[in-house]
Amino acid sequence: MVFLVPEISQKRRNHAKHRFVDIGVFYGVALLFLKPDKVVYFASNCFFMRLLPLATSVVITAGLVFALNKQWGAVPPMGKFLNPQYGFWQNAEPTGENYDASLSLPGLKGKADVYLDDRLVPHVFAENDEDLYFIQGFLHAKFRLFQMDLQTKAAAGRASEIAGPKAIDFDREQRRLGMVFAAENALKEIEKDPESKKLYDAYTNGVNAYLADLKEADLPVEYKLLNIVPEKWSNLRTALLLKMMAKMLSSGTESDLANTNAKSIFIPDELKLIYPQVPDSLVPIVPKGTAFDAPGIVPIAPANADSLYIGRKDTVTAKEISKPDINNGSNNWVVAGSKTASGSPILCNDPHLELSLPSIWYEIQLQTPTSNAYGVSLPGSPFVIIGFNENIAWGVTNAQRDVKDYYEIRFRDESKKEYFFNGKWEKTTIKEETIKIKGQADLKDTVAYTVFGPVMFDDKFSNELSNKRNLAVRWVAHDPSNEGYALYKLNRATNYDDYAAAIKGFQCPGQNFIFASKTGDIAIWQQGKFPARWDRQGLFVMPGEDSSYMWQGFIPQPENPHAKNPERGFLESANQRAADSTYPYFIPGSYLTPRGITIENKLAAMNSITTKDMMVLHSNYFNTLAEDARGIMLQYVKENELDPVAKRFLGIFRDWDLNASPDSKGQTIYQCWWDSLEVEIWKDELARSTQLVPWPEEQVTMELLKKDSALKYIDNINTAEKETLFDVVTTSLKKAAADLARKEAEGKLEWTKFKNPTVYHLIKDLKGFARPGLPVGGNGNIVNAVTHSHGPSWRMIVHLTNQTEAYGVYPGGQSGNPGSRFYDNYVDQWASGQYNKLWFMKEGDRTDKNVKWVMKFTAGK
């Protein structure tokens, strides 16, 4: 019962029947010793009439135990679950819980102390790096076990083991995308270097040290609800977690399949107009006017690209099942001492991700005699991901670059053992996948690997309606890399050169690493491994029968967009295109323009900046896009055609202050009207393809209308008359008004009521573990980027004064246990734009009053 590592729990399952017998025998023998005469007497005297009630009663008891020991659909085994000595009551952590501990663990080299402050943030003081990451692993497991276990299983395409049949397609897609293949390649790279391997090993050993002593009663409550047990940790699982991040941030940044369909309804010039690479209003990450070097690599388009690729009418019906959220992005910015009140730089970051409980982030300070880093970590991986140390601070936003392409494969036959490539039949590598499903028999799937990568879509997956096209995926995340080691070095960087050198090893997902140092430097690098593409390479599904469409190389790392100490004294990134059209490479991606404009405008206008100003900017609700869009909407609406209800909404919209604040009705009206207008303009054209076609960016639609009020797409091609901008603007308001009136009747016209900001538990069905109805405004294209369940997953402000002054908050809490007062204690703070002061503990603070609990670690046998 004590050990729950897989081998043992497997044995337990195998021996479940024996256990019943064993225990029966145990108590039987005990009875024999206690009352032997009675047992014998009974044996010689029992007869039917007296035995019947006994038998009935025993059967009922056994039946009850059996029924209460079994999972019925989503209902956990209720006997075990409710038993206060085994079940969920054990997770009801006393609010006055004492976290002091003395632990002697095999695997540790020396002594280490963990000081927990009043927010349950651990400040780890270890003697060496290995012990440091061992303890980080131990703490992650102690406070966040379920999420690490769940997320890495999901990354590996094993969600069905937990969720049952509904996750089968998700799992098949994960496997066909080559998630495990990617993690295995990363693992080889991680373990190639003994210095790196020992860090990951230490982390893994720390997680497993916690698991080794974990009693069933102490399992996180989710395990009890789902009736599953945790699995032993490994370096591969750490690699899987990092690949999960890679998928989240670098898999959904392409729309190749939908773009390919768009090609069937628009000619190339239209595609360039509707889906432009560089929006007119772009404010790039690298300040405009920065000169770029001549490209180190100039990829050449194949001679037949115009006829076979760009101009070819084409459709695919394959569609990704779990495409990452388009809003996955972030803000970061840094202001130099020349713009701050103190004269020291201030660095800010807020990564936008799906919000969850437990949070994706876990705050931690990691100190050894030679290093000291504070920030947020990802449970499942060692190191601090976003944070600061005694000399520098850093943050990340997503690069949004397209690093994943599809190639059409021709197999020789259904066995998929051979495919046509460069004029001959080449062998594939076949990977047999077995998907285990809770409550159901295993499912087999076969994935063929080609020179490009795994064949993700074929006749067996996701495109039953199609002409059985086989699409192989080429994705940078498949390439060997060791992003964790880059973070390890970044945690220890003391100046700009260290930082620039450390991040070079970070390949995927591409990130905008922003930087500031106490010596006054500020910088940003868009870092990643990015293919050097010829014009429009990889926007659509490419021919895969020869090597001519393959990537010809990668952009040399020193040519990645970057900036250091600009004259203007600030740098920012907010998921916009990194550079303007003077950057000498074709860099498609899934960019977002308006947020960067807002931040740029604000920072440019600010001086004598304080941390307080930065907090206000994090919570900024200004809707930059609406500022332009409203002008168009008000200019073209035919007010005399509106009914009184629509007129009233128009009035509110006209008086709106352009802020998406929580109680704003104008923002709700704007969003519904604008969405309705986009439908009026584009739906008729896009519906010409029966398959998924990407919607033009809202920014682009606004720019097109601004430039050309007679844009040809305004006309509805399905009607005889010719609609004008006046018509569609008015019609769209009429349609939106009907919806808005309904929302108003439900009391949901205020923006926050309309979008109902919610932080869900990682298992969305567990509504009781979620935090719905948070009073917060914002939207994906606004600085405070909170949507229904997505937004700033961590807000951090670091003022690089002599004694680092730092603030941070995330919508969650340090404990993953829904029964702990530390489960969601930052949520309300986060919603109202409040921060925690981050305590950067020093060696001399070991007896400071901020220390609430101490965990003492020593090497055990």
Partner: protein, 118 residues
């Protein structure tokens, strides 16, 4: 007197069974059964004392943990199960589930004792 003794013994041994690492979650069914064998009562009474012994134990433990926890978890679990977030109801159900198993186990014990007599 026997009734009270049985209740106390059932609760006590049930609690001890719950602390033994080798015992499954239903160890208290065995101990409730044994108590009923040792402290003989008629079937119905044995059921009641078994039921009360464990349901009082479970209600007491759950109530105590809930109090120390400020009802944080029980309120959430009572939304999932679903009991409308009512912690009291959750404690009540906890007590009834444990009580039923123990009651039937004790009744079995009583019948065993009865069938072993002339």
């Amino acid at each position: 007197m026997k009734f009270i003794t049985a209740i106390i013994l059932t609760a006590l041994t049930g609690f001890i069974a719950g602390t033994l690492s080798f015992s499954p979650w239903w160890g208290f069914a065995i101990t409730s059964f044994l108590v009923a064998v040792l402290v003989h009562q008629k079937g119905g009474k044995a059921f009641l004392s078994g039921f009360l012994g464990i349901s009082l134990l479970w209600a007491g433990l759950a109530g105590w943990m809930d109090m120390k926890n400020n009802g944080i978890l029980s309120h959430k679990i009572a939304q999932i199960l679903p009991l409308n977030g009512n912690s009291f109801l959750l404690i009540l159900i906890t007590a009834v589930v444990g009580g039923l198993v123990a009651g039937f186990a004790a009744m079995s014990g009583s019948y065993l004792r009865a069938s072993s007599k002339k």
